[in-house]
Symmetry: C2
């Protein structure tokens, strides 16, 4: 990786993936500006970039005039701003439309005017595929989102793709599987089971798995995810544009709960019935065919789930007061 001298803009850069990416870019010598609106519930945590030499601007990307010079000067834009909760999108679909589609529309429109043709790496999600029709899921899998979050993330994906076809942008779309690691949000109830599992074991609680726990996942450690974003920024023009990003280990939720409990030193997990509101938007088993991206870039996930989760627990134990309420 050679990001020395890059002028990089990271939207949503106080969140989990954004902040880890900003740190990595900064360590590699990039000139990093983070824009984050700190919308409640979207995962921003100022501590994530504490002590890191990056500019942090508290702006809504839907009001790009507030950071026009940053857009004009960017060599590359890593676009990670958005709402990530699937369940919240079903309860407040208009909020999700605003945060994931309308603000992206305004931001991208500004990019086409002030920095036409700029390379953008957009963080999309496996959720756009919905319930897998086959496994592993490759990029040709039909789009069938099971919730408003998936619909709106896909609309934003199409903004990037369409504006790239017209030559107004030069976007790469990464559809991410479950990502975990240091700096992920532990407080949000509805942002993925790995944050919930981690919070519970840090609090010494016994985990409960919904249903029979047989749904497969391929959790990706954050450092490998960040590396994918950096490699995506360097993909030559004119090749494939949309890539699935996942990990080689396929673990079921029961196995994951057992491993997490063992690593954290809490009792073995139990099972409970699937809550109906979550069952309605559950996608069953999912794991990723990420060969297209691996072949295009040489990227490979390197951290095992076991190793990654040890590092995760270690990080949160050392930084607990910044991620869990003091009263816990």
């Amino acid at each position: 990786m050679n990001a020395t001298g890059w002028r990089a803009l990271v939207t949503g850069g106080l969140g989990f993936i954004g902040s880890n990416l900003a740190r990595r870019l900064s360590e590699a010598g990039a000139d990093v500006t983070v824009v984050d609106s700190c919308v409640a519930g979207c995962g921003a945590n100022p501590y994530n970039l504490s002590g890191v030499p990056v500019r942090v601007l508290r702006h809504d990307i839907g009001q790009p005039q507030n950071f026009r010079d940053t857009i004009e000067n960017a060599d590359v834009i890593f676009n990670l701003a958005g709402e990530v909760s699937h369940l919240d999108s079903m309860l407040r679909p208009e909020r999700d439309l605003e945060l994931n589609a309308a603000t992206q529309l305004r931001f991208l429109d500004a990019c086409t005017r002030w920095r036409r043709g700029v390379r953008i790496v957009y963080a999309s999600t496996r959720q756009v595929y919905g319930v897998p029709q086959y496994l592993p899921v490759d990029e040709r899998h039909p789009i069938n989102p099971v919730d408003f979050n998936g619909v709106h993330k896909y609309a934003a994906t199409q903004y990037h793709q369409m504006l790239t076809r017209t030559g107004d942008l030069d976007a790469i779309v990464l559809r991410l599987t479950n990502v975990f690691g240091p700096r992920m949000s532990l407080l949000a109830k509805n942002q993925g089971f790995l944050g919930v599992f981690t919070r519970k074991v840090l609090l010494g609680e016994t985990l409960k798995v919904f249903g029979d726990g047989s749904q497969l996942r391929d959790p990706l450690y954050i450092d490998d995810c960040v590396e994918a974003f950096v490699k995506a920024a360097e993909i030559p023009k004119g090749t494939d544009r949309t890539f699935n990003i996942g990990a080689p280990e396929h673990l079921d939720l029961g196995q994951i709960a057992v491993a997490v409990s063992r690593i954290a030193g809490v009792p073995e997990p139990g099972c409970i019935p699937f809550p109906p509101d979550l069952k309605a938007i559950d996608i069953g088993s999912y794991f990723t065919d990420y060969r297209l991206f691996a072949n295009a870039t040489g990227w490979r996930p390197r951290v095992t789930f076991e190793d990654g989760f040890r590092r995760t627990v270690d990080f949160f134990r050392r930084n607990r007061e910044h991620y869990l309420p003091v009263c816990s």
Copy 2:
């Protein structure tokens, strides 16, 4: 067709397709309520339903509380409200997002609460497929919209499909090719070439075809389109949900211009270079594989282009003052 006694709600019912559908349903004995916000440029024309015994409510479907009882009492909802201009969507993408996605989101949310499980037939567009990768285009063709209108119509399509999977609605999606006939908008510059062609020949002008005029289309006459909506309302639950609707004649734009000019009695058309803003969102040739719908419903287009366009010119000559400015 046996729509006797149906309580039908038609959104966008003062527009081209909506008004023809409302007339047909009313003639068949249905109890029809039309909701139309008459947004400028979206094609509403009160004359379209002049003298027809249907209720017309001037409401925005994004404010469904204004016609809650109509939703609660509907046996079937024909959902045709929306902005149809592709070019305008590129100039004012946020307006298109509001009209095609946000208002649909509010309307469908109300339908799920006040009339859960109701049959909805949604008017989508071939534009979601973008530049065809193969011809004829079937329902498995990848989604690659070339403009914001296509992105947002597809988001609204996904709302319908997703809420049907969750059991909250019972939606059928029709992806329409170019539709033409009586009551289409002639004034809008950016709502399809057939309205533009018709306006020009009514004014005695010589047609001009962009480029070499070799792009194929399968124009569908309005009566056949309306019949497809009625048949879609009767499709049993649990079958396919999304259907392409087109016509069997594949004519290139040059052939269409020649036929239109001959029927209307104006001089032979000429060619001009493709305007750049339209070229950027042009999709090349398109024609439809509509066998899935034909097999599911027995529907067949019955009116030839020649016959349909004769009826169209005849209608507009008899009703010219309601569709063309007096000053023309």
